[in-house]
Symmetry: C2
Subunit: 479 residues, 2 copies
């Protein structure tokens, strides 16, 4: 047997062995239901970015592989927050996801072509770091490879064959712009290599070596997922809020029926005018309603939605997550429902459930809810940046008023369905909820998206307050 | 008590009673998990179309109500089949859906403005009838109301108040065009009132009467859903196919390695050229792969996807439906995955599962799979009409070859995962599958979307055949 034949045989043996190990690991990952493993693939054109995915599809059980490949944003994607299109297509737990044209591609391109400054580039890298951190915290493993030729060494025939390359990401760049890609990529790698989501430079001169190296990275990543209990490290030593806004709130304001009619009429008309404002077609509105059980969220929401064209409105009642939703990071199902330009989305309960019911009932770990404040602030910041106005309400009533309403509901055949055993259980947890609400009001009250704390002790007063705030915020935003 | 006060009190009592009955019915519907109830609302502007929905939101448990309101199609919607946007947002079993701007609105408008002829209008009504029939067969209840004022009678103040109207569908029509709406709507009602999905004309002069009437219709519809076991009437007396294509197929063609390399290279290059054709950006391609277990679907698919830009490609491995998918009509989850213009979607197994595994294993009723042939033909017809090229393959191997491959898989550590107990079980059902395949090949082989029956007894032969057919079909379509 000649030397080259022997070499070939050894290589074949290594590929087969790796393949077998990967299959086994994929099976175990699936069985464990642990977080997904994502492989982000970037690099020059003609280095085999797409071919790596073909190799994995040949090696592994295709049914649990997810290839996601993005062009630059088009159509609606251009108007939505940058992470939206990634969030709505995130592969579920237990599976493997491949990304071509990942969240790095657009900023990298814009930096190379001079559309954004180094400062802006760095800022976007920071946004990405936080996004990846969220994924990793929620159990995902994120691998990132950058492919390039080593020009000082010979390029193997299989690797350079241009016929096997299906995807060109840079071919419309001028030579001068393309010269920047290498340096920009190295800057990107410096800025965004973290322990949880490291970059690896991979040499593409030999296709088989390239695939072996990346296959090994994948194997190590899956095995790490399987072996280690992800450490639920707390983000910082937890210092609860000391402000007691619920107690300081004035619950006495009330409104008589006639005054209510006048005000309701006035603000509903105002709102109708505002959403017809030509500038609104480029903006959008997201209303978040949270509040004590029986505080009257539904009735308040209806007074607002009555003024809105149903074609541009969606009301989302947040319930317990479905099986599919449970297999994804917590915030993802809310990312899916954010409003497109010209549209209004109302959340009747929301992602704040993480720091309310999930915290109080122990449905998530302390690390998860303590991290959630920052994650939610990031989320809302991204929405605001892309022109979505976020307005948040906490409708508050006193413990006595709640009891009255619960008892009234029990007696009314039309309202009985609104009262469940859960409501009574929640009521017993009054002080735990009170604490959670205080922390939420403090740690997610941002300049961009402040909380509006409203007394709903008198329903009419609460409704008018909410309507007024919606109108005024919208008017201000459309200026 | 004055007469008018008495009347008011009686009306209030009737409303409360209906409300209570509706709440009860909604709860039972939810508990039963039976098909959803859809209320389609059409009519003039200012007749309270949106207000009806507000009334139901005030009456019922909001969490299980779904309002869907559509404008005329925009952006991507314009390029996709007409029913796509409705299918991807269909409310699930056990819930109630309200439609404003339903699938009737666009054809009705186009007819009134003269964009389509009466003939085209009738054809579109036929398409709608078949679509609604599918929904009804799959368990939904479809109610349709058309709202108009009776101009011979006084209009109650509440009903005419223009301030409460949030949605205007016709206000951009000229007076001459608007004159056609009434007549066109009556024609629509004639053409599309069926037992399963009837229209009701509702007089809007009095808002309370209007809501009471529609509330009663809804109550009757929910109760009917709950009481009757939907009759699984067979579509016609079933006459199975008499053609035995699988037996007539020539399984002998084979290809040697060298010839295979040449041909593979040729057709892969051809395919790369074709998808870069400028006209392809306005078309799209949907490949459907079905075949005997171990026939080599995965390998064949990979030879095709290797040539394609991953950014415009999705491969869908069809698995058992998720819980969410089970709560919707069978075809809906496939509607969600159809390709957008310029894109390619490959189904590794597909909606044909209904007439294959679901039929053979008894996962659906005889009525369901017997109906499915026509439903699938409709589905594919709608795709083809909107520019999506559908190419379907059945990869066939003999029983002996399958046994050889199963045994080889058992012995190979790299292929063992591909063989499950289910495969052995399916093999025992060989003749039942053979029958199902014959029926499928006969009843869903249309001029637009013919089946390509390929011998995969020799894998190389099978792969080249499939590639060649993809190339030739695409070339023909792009002419």
């Amino acid at each position: 047997m000649s030397e080259s034949k022997k070499e070939k045989k050894t290589a074949k043996g290594r590929v087969d062995q790796l393949n077998e190990q990967l299959l086994e690991a994929q099976f175990e990952l699936r069985k464990s239901g642990k977080g997904p493993v994502f492989l982000l693939i970037g690099g020059d054109d003609h280095v085999g970015k797409a071919e790596i995915i073909h190799t994995f599809y040949a090696w592994l059980d295709n049914r649990f592989l997810n290839a996601r490949a993005f062009t630059l944003p088009r159509g609606l994607e251009e108007q939505m927050p940058r992470f939206w299109r990634y969030c709505r297509t995130l592969p579920p737990n237990g599976e493997i996801g491949f990304y071509l044209g990942s969240w790095y591609h657009q900023p990298l391109r814009e930096f190379c072509t001079g559309q954004i400054s180094e400062q802006q580039f760095s800022e976007q890298m920071q946004d990405i770091l936080r996004f990846e951190q969220l994924l990793v915290h929620e159990g995902a493993s994120v691998l990132k490879v950058w492919l390039e030729y080593d020009k000082s060494k010979p390029v193997h025939e299989d690797a350079s064959s241009s016929t096997t390359v299906a995807m060109r990401e840079w071919n419309d760049l001028s030579p001068a712009q393309f010269e920047h890609v290498h340096g920009a990529a190295q800057r990107m790698i410096e800025l965004t290599s973290t322990e949880g989501a490291p970059w690896t430079n991979v040499c593409s001169n030999d296709a088989e070596q390239r695939d072996l190296q990346i296959g090994q990275l994948m194997l190590d990543a899956i095995r790490a997922q399987l072996s280690e209990e992800k450490q639920s490290t707390l983000p910082h030593s937890w210092i609860p809020s000391t402000r007691e806004l619920l107690d300081e709130l004035d619950y006495t304001p009330a409104m008589d029926k006639d005054e209510y009619k006048v005000q309701l009429d006035y603000y509903q008309n105002f709102l109708r005018q505002l959403v017809r404002h030509p500038d609104f077609s480029g903006r959008s509105l997201m209303l978040v309603f949270e509040g004590t059980d029986a505080a009257g969220k539904g009735g308040t929401i209806r007074r607002i939605t009555q003024c809105l064209d149903p074609r541009f409105l969606r009301v989302h009642g947040t319930r317990a997550p479905t099986d599919e939703e449970r297999r994804q990071p917590y915030l993802m199902r809310f990312w899916r429902h954010i409003p497109a330009p010209g549209n209004i989305v109302v959340f009747d309960r929301s992602y704040y459930g993480r720091v309310l019911v999930e915290r109080v009932e122990g449905f998530c770990s302390a690390a998860q809810w303590q991290r959630a404040y920052g994650e939610i602030n990031d989320f809302e910041h991204q929405l605001q940046q892309s022109g979505i106005l976020v307005i948040k309400f906490w409708l508050a009533i006193t413990q006595e008023e709640q009891l009255d309403r619960f008892e009234a509901r029990e007696e009314s055949p039309l309202k009985r369905y609104k009262l469940t055993d859960e409501d009574w259980r929640n009521r017993k947890q009054w002080s735990a909820y009170r604490e959670a609400v205080h922390d939420m009001l403090e740690f997610t009250d941002t300049d961009e998206s402040p909380w509006h704390l409203i007394s709903s002790e008198d329903k009419r007063h609460g409704r008018i307050q909410a309507l007024k705030i919606v109108c005024e915020s919208l008017q201000h935003a459309l200026k």
